[in-house]
Amino acid sequence: MEISWIYGLIGGLMIGCAAAVYLLVNGRIMGASGIAGSIVDGSAGSAWGERAAFLAGVIGVPAVASVFMDMPATNVTSNVPLLIVAGVLVGFGTRLGSGCTSGHGVCGMSRLSVRSIIATVIYIGAGVLVIIAARGMGVL
């Protein structure tokens, strides 16, 4: 806990550099939900190859690393109905709201986009409230 913020900052800088190169070199916005969503619903068009390559990197580098080292625990809940409900909410919500933590949070806020700042406040607020509600109902 004491040093987790340092790793957070280092990892964050890595994420920001990845987004910066993807923007300046390929001219594209690094939003995980937009990249994945446009691939599965067929709206990616000519960007399909670049986006599929990006996802291959996101999945592949940790996969290769996991062969050589112990990966940190994900601590995912074993509650299957909860995982399905959460997955549907994240998938549907990010498409409807045009972005997630990387698209609105990192790429949009760094551009000082008012729309992205509002979106980020809304989803963090909803997350805070749902944790309170779930704790109250004994779900989490």
Partner: protein, 141 residues
């Protein structure tokens, strides 16, 4: 290059998500748990990521085209509407309940066990269905 650069960027993104601790769902939920033992890590991750991107947008503003040619992103939409709000609320609820947002769900796919795979399957199915369904509900909105 158009394929190799995204592959490397994706790898750096995935690596950054693991290093930062964002593939740990309890750490993410800890950030949202303001009234429990609040964990500020996510704030440092987002702050760290915004710094290089802030400068990248400045550089992009002075360029005609991307390095590999082709257009840079057009100015962002300024539309703040029901879609943005309802989408944000749904995403935030799913994010809080599971501790997963799309990036970390992909980054941990290889080592996150069956729970991560179940979340991923549900998320991709909803992404596949989202356009037609929202087209019906939000017609003209």
């Amino acid at each position: 290059m158009r394929i190799l650069v995204p592959l490397l960027c994706g790898g750096l993104f995935g690596g950054g998500l693991v290093v930062s601790g964002m593939t740990d769902t309890l750490r993410v939920q800890g950030f949202l748990d303001l009234f429990g033992g609040w964990d500020p890590t996510l704030m440092f991750v987002m702050g760290g990521a915004i710094i290089p991107m802030f400068f990248a947008w400045r550089i992009a503003a002075n360029r005609e085209a991307a390095v590999l040619g082709g257009p840079l992103p057009t100015p962002p939409s300024t539309q703040i509407d029901t879609r943005l709000a309802v989408g944000g609320i749904m995403f935030g609820m799913g994010w809080g309940l599971s501790g997963f947002c799309p990036g970390p769900a992909f980054a941990s796919l290889s080592f996150g066990g069956s729970g991560g795979l179940i979340f991923m399957a549900a998320m991709l199915a909803a992404m596949f269905a989202a356009r037609p369904i929202t087209g019906m509900i939000f017609r003209g909105a």
